[in-house]
């Protein structure tokens, strides 16, 4: 009985890792589309959004079936509930990667306002956060989840820095307002992406320790 439940948990974790991996691919392709001004890369990211949605549905089905079959309690139940909620956040994060890709495709039509420095930095931090989210779920590692929370502070700082910079551009030269607003939306999408990973990390900490992380 226990072995069957372990197998179910393993299968759910594998699907979750697949979904996290696909979301990371979307993030990287959207960012490359932005930085290189390559609309095809951006389109590739958008196309993956459906695969992420399908994985979300598959995980939900697996979790509901596992709960029905095994009626888990305590830590096992917390795991299934954590994953059930985490996939919603992960799917929303992937949506924000798709939003970045959509804006990247628009921005690619014209010369860039500036060389993008802070946006790729935000994306790199988010990639690291995704790796840690995957590790925290696969290895039941609350420490990795806590690092996600720290990295999200970096993402928020970069977001504020970029916002200040773009506002100055707009005040200086009203002709930049259109592009600057699109870049602000990109930065906002990255920031929201990070917030959803932070939500997942907080739930993982609760699953592993039974405590809500204090920040």
């Amino acid at each position: 009985m226990r072995q069957a439940l372990e197998q179910e948990i393993g299968k759910v974790i594998e699907l979750f890792l697949r979904m996290a991996s696909k979301t990371k691919e979307m993030l990287e392709e959207a960012t490359e589309g932005l930085v290189r001004g390559d609309p095809q890369r951006a389109q590739a990211a958008i196309a993956k959004d459906r695969e992420v949605d399908a994985l979300e549905a598959a995980i939900e089905n697996e979790v509901i079936a596992a709960i029905a079959r095994h009626q888990p309690v305590a830590g096992d139940l917390r795991f299934f509930v954590t994953v059930l909620k985490a996939v919603t956040d992960l799917e929303r994060a992937a949506d924000y990667a798709a939003h970045v890709a959509e804006d990247a495709a628009v921005l690619a039509q014209e010369p860039p306002l500036k060389r993008y420095v802070l946006l790729p930095q935000m994306a790199r931090r988010l990639g690291e956060m995704l790796d840690l989210v995957a590790k925290s779920v696969a290895e039941k590692d609350a420490g990795a989840a806590m690092k996600v929370l720290e990295l999200d502070d970096d993402v928020d700082d970069l977001y504020e820095q970029l916002t200040r910079e773009l506002i100055t551009y707009m005040l200086e030269d009203p002709r930049t307002i259109g592009k600057a607003l699109t870049l602000l939306r990109v930065a906002r999408s990255y920031e929201r992406f990070g917030d959803h990973l932070e939500n997942i990390a907080e739930r993982v900490v609760y699953w592993v320790t039974g405590q809500t992380p204090h920040r």
Binding site: G10, I13, E14, L17, R18, A20, S21, K22, K24, E25, L113, K114, R115, V117, R124, G127, E128, D131, A134, K135, A138, E139, D141, Q161, R164, E165, I167, T168, Y169, E172
Partner: protein
């Protein structure tokens, strides 16, 4: 064989039927996984990336980033070889930055030297021709020292900051209109200070607005402030502009590498000082703090 793998720097991961059979400590470190948790588990538990999983199935080479490190992968049937390329990539990036710095520091003086040589061919009085030859000689000597990459030394005798004015005006078109309010004398290597002013004045002329001033004034702690002020509008983040590759909001459409201020900071630290940017009244000011022993 496995005993050797246990202490190898190269990462080794063995797999079959889609499951991890073995991975050495180096592979676990590079992949950022706990190897006890992944041996026997599906391959994705260790690789955490579907692209790597596909590579393991198809064979070939790839690279990925994990935890800020760059990892190169070679996939053979049933096994993955992992190499941490972070240090190599960092060294290559440092080399590229070094090339960019040298290019940045040579571009303006070389353009100035061309103008000086052209001036020699024109109608100059013997005194003017001697002055131009002196400037060419001094600039070539400075560039030779720059290429050698020597650290700045202290000057044997103090010299007035304004002594750099003729060199700057000859090398930089537009520098003739500068306002000088720098009455102090320095004990630093003149070439190092010249390199600082060349970068700061060039930036002010390119990205700022007139009037451009070269100012020296006493700061707290016995330090001297040597700065270039311009009448440009406020900037959002002064410290960030000192990072290599960062350019100001007024730099759009103007040629530049974003290295000038990073170079200024490096030189300032070389003589125990520090570089800074600040807003002073209606002006932007970029400059360096000179330690007490470097001025009088």
């Amino acid at each position: 064989m496995r005993a050797a793998w246990e202490s190898a720097e190269e990462g080794i991961l063995l797999h079959s039927e889609g499951r991890v059979r073995y991975l050495n400590p180096a592979a676990a470190r590079m992949l950022g996984v706990d190897r006890r948790a992944v041996i026997g588990a599906p391959l994705l538990f260790a690789l955490r990336d579907e692209r790597l999983e596909r590579l393991a199935g198809s064979g070939g080479r790839g690279r990925f980033e994990r935890g800020g490190r760059v990892i190169e992968v070679r996939a053979l049937p049933g096994r993955l070889h992992l190499h941490d390329r972070t240090a190599l990539e960092r060294a290559e990036r440092a080399l590229a930055e070094g090339r960019a710095v040298l290019f940045h520091e040579l571009r303006t003086p070389v353009a100035g030297l061309v103008a000086l040589f052209e001036a020699l061919g024109g109608d100059l009085t013997p005194e003017e021709a001697a002055e131009v030859r002196g400037l060419i000689q001094a600039e070539l000597a400075r560039l030779a020292r720059l290429v050698e990459g020597r650290r700045p030394e202290r000057a044997a005798n103090p010299w007035p900051i304004e002594a750099l004015r003729p060199r700057l005006e000859r090398l930089l078109p537009g520098a003739a209109g500068l306002v000088w309010q720098a009455p102090h004398r320095l004990r630093l290597e003149a070439d190092a200070v010249f390199q600082i002013l060349l970068n700061l004045v060039e930036n002010a002329l390119k990205y700022g607005r007139p009037p451009v001033r070269v100012v020296s004034q006493e700061a707290g702690g016995g330090r001297l402030r040597l700065e270039v002020q311009d009448g440009g509008p406020p900037l959002p983040d002064y410290p960030a502009l000192f990072r290599p590759g960062r350019r100001g909001v007024h730099a759009a459409g103007v040629r530049g590498s974003g290295l000038g201020l990073a170079i200024v900071r490096r030189i300032a630290r070389g003589f125990g000082g520090e570089a800074y940017g600040r807003r002073v009244g209606e002006a932007n000011a970029f400059g360096v703090y000179i330690p007490p022993e470097g001025w009088e």
